[in-house]
């Protein structure tokens, strides 16, 4: 019998600190698998965020940098300028990091079209700090800072980051994926692979938004939380490719 699925070598043996059923672990594994398949495991550089994934540098066996809150795209822009152009650089960010405090860095890195990959984990809540409202919290969803559900009149509207960034000229590839069942995890892996391939072809910034669950702060079981992403989050944040420079080049 041969092994068809195992823990990727790019992940360390350190047990992950994430809560049971957290989507971060799935995305970590997908990134490691994709980098190994592309043969880039030895020269990948990851930028860890602040948020639940703050310890991502403990789990990846490649070079990792821990950025200040929200500054991962800025750090990776700097890293891009000093390292070998063949190195793959990825930022791993949550919604508080990428869409709130780091919005300026995210937008400006996209405007410059830096040759990096940004992986944006959107679970619509601040996980690490205890379930406060995030910029991506959907209307009507309860959080500790909007206990009767988010009212757009009072708290503003959530941001659709992928759609917003797709209006810019800089980014090369923008896709939103989800991880709530096996087919969607496989699609997410394909999207990550495409994003890294675009970076290898030096076409510019690739941005992958992953709809994630947070069982602890949704106050649900992991299965219920995945179901919430499927039934509530996916209709509000539709999946799909929002920008693909390779297709535009093929059509022109």
């Amino acid at each position: 019998m041969k092994i068809i699925a195992d823990k990727p070598k790019l992940l360390t043996e350190t047990p992950m600190h994430y809560c049971p059923g957290c989507t971060h672990g799935i995305v970590h594994r997908l990134i490691a698998e994709v980098l190994e398949e592309l043969g880039k495991a030895d020269n990948a550089i990851g930028i860890a965020p602040v948020g639940c994934a703050v310890y991502a540098y403990r789990y990846f066996n490649c070079d990792m940098i821990e950025a200040a809150h929200g500054r991962a795209p800025a750090i990776s822009s700097a890293v891009r300028r000093v390292v070998n152009p063949d190195n793959l650089i990825f930022c791993y960010q949550g919604d508080g990091d990428c869409a709130s405090i780091g919005m300026a860095e995210t937008v400006h890195a996209c405007m410059r079209g830096e040759n990096i990959t940004v992986i944006f984990i959107n679970n619509g809540i601040y996980g690490m700090t205890g379930g406060q409202m995030a910029p991506t919290t959907m209307p009507g969803v309860k959080a500790t800072t909007c206990i009767y559900g988010r009212d757009p009149k009072k708290y503003g509207n959530p941001v659709h980051l992928s759609e917003m960034l797709a209006t810019l000229t800089g980014p090369a590839y923008i896709e939103r994926v989800a991880c709530y069942d096996v087919p969607h995890v496989k699609k997410a892996k394909a999207a990550l692979k495409k994003a890294f391939e675009i970076q290898m072809q030096k076409k510019g910034l690739s941005f992958i938004e992953v709809l994630a669950s947070c069982p602890t702060n949704f106050h649900m079981t992991p299965i219920e939380a995945m179901d919430f992403v499927k039934t509530q989050a996916e209709p509000f944040y539709p999946l799909g490719v929002f920008k693909d420079i390779t297709k535009e080049e093929a059509n022109s």
Binding site: M1, I4, K7, P15, M16, P20, T23, H24, D181, I223
Partner: protein, 70 residues
């Protein structure tokens, strides 16, 4: 004879039961055994039925499961 086989590294399992939900043959369950961290770990109850589809390993957030297939 089973087509596939699954192995759990129980020390890493957090008992989230995403693998139990993903298994198309419904042969996984959360056992009454706990690991060093106090989580009730997942286990396979009928390995002969395993088809080695790796759905469980695809959903596992902690890369606990190793899947073998002929």
């Amino acid at each position: 004879m089973a087509k596939g086989k699954v192995e759990f590294r129980e020390a890493y399992c957090k008992g989230c039961s995403l693998c139990v939900n993903a298994c198309p043959m419904k042969i996984l369950q959360i056992s009454k055994r706990t690991n060093a961290k106090g989580y009730e770990v997942a286990e396979c109850v009928d390995m002969d039925k395993c088809i080695g589809c790796a759905s469980c390993a695809t959903m596992c957030p902690d890369s606990v499961i190793t899947v073998y297939r002929d």
